[in-house]
C-alpha cells in the first residue's frame, strides 16, 4: 500500500520543520525579553514536542520522497523588485532527506540530554532559545534548494554556534573563542556573499543545479570563481585547510552544544554544501583535486595535532576535523553516497563521544584505576624516530604546525595595523581641528597606538597562548 500525500500537504510538512522551531525560538525570546515566568519543565516539554513533530514530518517526507522521487516545493515569491524575483523553495531528495532525519534524531537526543545537563543553570532559557534557532537554521540549510534560502539557515547556524561557544560569557576563554569562531564564519560568509553575486550570473538563477537536475552549461572564469567561493564557504564551515583552527576553540561551550554543533551537525554543513553544489565545481577542471588536497592535508594536520592534546574535547575536535577531511576527499572523488553515509555515521559516533566525554573521565577516575586501566605511554611510530627528531616534531605539531602564528602574522596583524593607523590618524586630526586637548584626550592619544592594537589582538593571542600553555 502506498500512502500518497498531496503537494500542499508536503509543503505544509516541510514548512512545519522550519516554522515550528522558529516560532518556538521566537516565543522563548519574547518570554526572555518581557521577563515572563517560565519553568524548566515547560521548556523541556516544548522541546520534546517540537522534536517529535519534526521527526514525524521528516518521516512522512522521507516516505513520500522514497516513493515519488525528488520533489521540488515552491512557496512563491518572497519579494519582487521590478524584474527581480526572490523565490522561496525547498527540495526533498536523496541528499536532504537522510540528513534531515539524522539531524532531527541527533538534535532530539541532545535536547533531551541538555535538559538534564543544564538543570538549574542560569542560562537554561538562553541555551534552549539558541538550540531552537540552531534547529531552525539546520532544517532550512538541509532543505534549501536555492542559495537565497540556504544562506538564511547558514547564518542562523553560525550565529547560534557562536553564541553557544560564548555561553559562559563571564569567562574570558569562551568569549575569546566565540570571537575567533565568529571571525572564521564571517570569512566563510565572503564565499556566500560572493556566490550570491556570481551564481545568478553563472546559472541565470540561484537555484542549485542538482536540485532541479539542471546541468551547468557554463564554464570558464565565472565557473572557476563560483567554485572557489563554494570551497571557501565549505572549508570555513567544516574547519578545513587554513580555516581549521577555530574548531578546538569552539569547545569552550557547554558539552551539549559542542556535541550538536561541532561534533555532529554544524561542522558537517560545509561537506553538505559541497554535495549540494557539486554540479558547479565538478564542471571546473582541477576543483576536485583542490578539494581532495584540502581534505587530505587537514586530515594529516588534525591527526597529528590531535595526538598532542591532553583534554578530551580538543582531541575529539581534531578527530572530527580529520574525519571531515576524509569526507572532503570522498566528495572530491565523486563518492557522494559514501560521503553522505560517512557523514551520518560520523555524526552518530561523535555525538555519543561528546555526550559521554564528561562522564568518561569521571568513570576512568573512579573505576578505571581500580581495574588497572592505563593510558598508553608509548607512541608506536614516533618512538622509532629518535629522541631529538621526536621532540622537534612534537613541538611543531603541538604548535599546530605553526598555522595559527602564520595566520596572525600574515593576515590578522597587518589588517589590524592598517585599521589602527587609519583610526589614529583620524583621531589626531580631530584633536588638531578641535584646537584643544583635554587630559583624557591626551591620555587616549598617548595610549592609542598600543591600546587599539592590543585590544584588537588580545582575543586571538589569548586563545593561542592558552592553547600553547595547555
Amino acid at each position: 500500500m502506498t500512502l500518497s500525500l498531496s503537494l500542499e500537504t508536503l509543503k505544509l510538512l516541510a514548512a512545519t520543520t522550519i516554522i515550528l522551531p522558529g516560532l518556538s525560538a521566537l516565543g522563548l525570546l519574547i518570554v526572555s525579553f518581557f521577563s515572563l515566568p517560565w519553568k524548566e519543565e515547560w521548556i523541556e516539554r516544548l522541546i520534546r514536542s517540537v522534536m517529535v513533530v519534526i521527526g514525524l514530518c521528516a518521516v512522512a517526507l522521507a516516505w513520500q520522497s522514497v516513493h515519488a522521487g525528488p520533489l521540488w516545493l515552491s512557496f512563491g515569491d518572497w519579494l519582487t523588485l521590478s524584474s527581480m524575483h526572490f523565490g522561496l523553495s525547498l527540495i526533498l531528495d536523496s541528499l536532504s532527506i537522510p540528513y534531515l532525519i539524522t539531524s532531527g534524531f541527533i538534535a532530539a537526543i541532545v535536547g533531551y540530554f541538555s535538559a538534564r545537563y543544564l538543570h538549574r543553570d542560569p542560562g537554561f532559557l538562553r541555551f534552549f532559545t539558541l538550540y531552537l534557532v540552531f534547529v531552525t537554521g539546520l532544517n532550512i540549510t538541509i532543505l534549501a534548494s536555492s542559495l537565497l534560502v540556504l544562506v538564511v539557515g547558514w547564518e542562523l547556524i553560525g550565529l547560534s554556534s557562536v553564541l553557544l561557544v560564548g555561553f559562559y560569557r563571564e569567562r574570558r576563554g569562551p568569549v575569546a573563542g566565540a570571537l575567533v569562531v565568529f571571525t572564521a564564519y564571517r570569512v566563510g560568509d565572503l564565499g556566500m556573499h560572493g556566490l550570491t553575486i556570481s551564481l545568478p550570473l553563472l546559472l541565470g538563477h540561484d537555484t542549485f543545479p542538482g536540485a532541479m537536475g539542471l546541468p551547468v552549461q557554463s564554464s570558464g572564469s565565472l565557473a572557476l570563481v563560483c567554485s572557489l567561493l563554494i570551497i571557501l564557504a565549505a572549508a570555513c564551515k567544516s574547519a578545513q585547510g587554513p580555516f581549521s583552527l577555530w574548531l578546538p576553540r569552539a569547545m569552550e561551550g557547554p558539552t551539549p552544544s559542542s556535541a550538536i554543533f561541532y561534533g555532529a551537525l554544524s561542522v558537517h554543513m560545509g561537506a553538505y554544501f559541497l554535495l549540494r553544489t557539486s554540479p558547479i565545481w565538478r564542471a571546473v577542471d582541477g576543483m576536485p583535486w583542490l578539494i581532495a588536497a584540502i581534505g587530505l592535508s587537514t586530515t594529516l594536520f588534525a591527526s597529528g595535532v590531535g595526538r598532542t592534546r591532553a583534554d578530551i574535547k580538543s582531541m575529539l575536535a581534531f578527530a572530527s576535523m580529520a574525519q571531515l577531511g576524509l569526507i572532503f576527499v570522498e566528495i572530491s572523488l565523486g563518492w557522494d553516497q559514501l560521503a553522505l553515509w560517512h557523514m551520518v555515521g560520523h555524526t552518530m559516533l561523535r555525538t555519543l563521544q561528546f555526550l559521554r566525554s564528561p562522564s568518561a573521565i569521571s568513570d576512568w577516575m573512579r573505576f578505571g584505576r581500580l581495574q588497572g586501566w592505563r593510558a598508553p605511554n608509548e607512541a608506536p611510530i614516533e618512538s622509532h624516530l629518535g629522541l631529538t627528531f621526536e621532540r622537534k616534531l612534537y613541538s611543531l605539531v603541538f604548535s599546530g604546525w605553526g598555522l595559527d602564528k602564520a595566520m596572525r602574522s600574515v593576515l590578522v596583524k597587518p589588517l589590524l595595523h592598517v585599521s589602527d593607523t587609519l583610526n589614529r590618524a583620524g583621531f589626531q586630526l580631530s584633536l588638531i581641528l578641535d584646537g584643544s586637548m583635554t587630559a583624557e584626550q591626551k591620555r587616549l592619544l598617548a595610549k592609542s597606538a598600543s591600546t587599539h592594537a592590543a585590544s584588537a589582538v588580545v582575543t586571538t593571542s589569548h586563545v593561542s597562548g592558552k592553547a600553547l600553555e595547555s
Binding site: 522558529g22 526572555s32 525579553f33 521577563s35 515569491d77 518572497w78 519579494l79 519582487t80 523588485l81 521590478s82 524584474s83 527581480m84 526572490f86 537565497l148 544562506v151 538564511v152 539557515g153 547564518e155 542562523l156 550565529l159 557562536v162 560564548g166 560569557r169 563571564e170 574570558r172 568569549v175 566565540a178 570571537l179 565568529f182 571571525t183 564571517r186 570569512v187 560568509d189 565572503l190 556573499h193 560572493g194 550570491t196 553575486i197 556570481s198 550570473l201 570563481v225 589588517l415 589590524l416 592598517v418 585599521s419 589602527d420 587609519l422 583610526n423 583620524g426 586630526l429 580631530s430 581641528l433 578641535d434 584646537g435 583624557e440 587599539h452 592594537a453 585590544s455 584588537a456 582575543t459
Partner: protein, 434 residues
Amino acid sequence: MSLDISAIHLIGVLMLLGGALATWVTPRLEKALGTATLLLSLLPLAVGAHHSGQGGGLRQDFLIIATITLAATLLAMPRMPLYKRMTARLLLGHAGTVLFLTQTAPLAMGAGWIVSLLPVFLPFETTLRGEENPLPRSFRMAQLAGCLFLMVGLVGQGGELKPLPDAASTLQVAAQLALVLGAFLRLGLFPFHIFHISWSEKGPLPLIMSLSAAPLGVILLMEKAESLAAQGASHGASPLTWFLALSLGIYGILSLTQRGLRHWTACVQMFLWTLALLLVIQGGDEAPYGARLLLCLATLGGAGMTYLLWVREIRLGREDTVPPGGLADVMPRLSGTLLLVGLALVGLPFTLGYVSEDVWLHLSHHFSGPMASLIVVAYVFLGIGFYRLYSHWILGSASLPPTTDLVLREKLALLFFLVPLLVLGVIPSLVFGT
C-alpha cells in the same frame, strides 16, 4: 475641495516649533508638553500625507522613521535626563526635519536643514562631563560649513533643485558641487568621516538618534545620484563610483578597531548610506528599491542601536572610554537586544538587514569584479568589528555594579524599532517591492 499640502505640513511644523518653545521655557513639564506636541503635530502630517498621494517615497519613509524615533525617545526619556531641556531640542530638530522632508521648495528645504541643526548649537547647561557644549568644535564648524555650502548651492542654482543640463556652466557645476559637499559634511561621509565619528563619540545620544533617524543629506545625495544615473553615469566604473567604493572599504577597515559601539554605529551608517548612493548611481533599474531598503535599515537600526547605548549610559551613569565588559550579566535583556540590532545591521536573517543584504548583493553584479569584492570584504569587516566590540564591551567578567535591566517603558519604546526591523525582515513585501 483642494487642499494646499505644503500649508498643511507647515501647520505641523509650527506646532512642533511652538511645542519646542513651550518645553524650553517650562522644563518641568517637558515630558507632558513634548508628548502632547508630538501627538498634535501628527494630525496635520497625517492629513498631508493622506492627501499628497505620493505613497512610499524615501521622504515619507524618513518622515515615519523620524517620528517613530522621536516617539520612542519621548516615551523612554528618564525623569532625570543627562542633558536639560532635551525634549525642546528634540522637538526643534524634528520640526526642521519635517520642514525639509515635506517641502519641495529648495529654500524651505534649506530652512529645514538649518533648523534641524539648531539643537546642536543651542547652549547646553549641564552635561555629564560638566562641559559647556559636549560637541566638538570641529563638528560644529563642519556643520556650519555644510549649511554654507548648501545655501551657496541653492542660490547658485537659482533656488531650484534640478539636474545639470548637458551644457552646464561653471557656476552650475560649482553649485552642484557645493550641494554635494554640504551633504557630505552634514552626513560626515569620507573624507569628512572624522566629524561623524567624533560627533558620535561625544554627542548627546538622544540628539544623535534624532539626527541619524532622518539623515537629510542623504535625500539631497540620492536625488543627485538619480540624476547622475539618468545622465548615463551608470555605464562602466567611473572615478566617482570608485571613490565611493574605496570609501566603503575604508569604513570597513575602520570598523575593525573602533573604540566603542557608538563609533561602530557611525561606521555602519556611513557604509549603508554610501552603498545606497553607489547602488543608485550604478545599480540598474532595481537600484532605487535596494537603496531604499538600505536607507531604512541604516536609519531604523542606527536609531535603535543609539537608543540602546543611551539606555546603557543612563543606567550606568557614565560614559566609558575603555571597555568595562560584563554588561551581559547586569543587563542581559539590553545586551541581547543590542546584539540583535547590531547583527541586523550586518545582515541577520529574519531582519530587514538580511533583506537589504540580499537585494544589494544581487544588484552588485552591475559593479566590476574588483569593486564588488572590495564592498563585500568591507561588509564582512563590519560584522567582525561589531562582534569584537560586543565581546569587549558587553561580555566578559562583571565589573559593573548591579543595576536595573530594561524597564517596561523602555521595552515598549524599543518595540518601535524592533517590530519594523523584524516584521519587514520576514514579510518585506508589506512595504517594499512591486
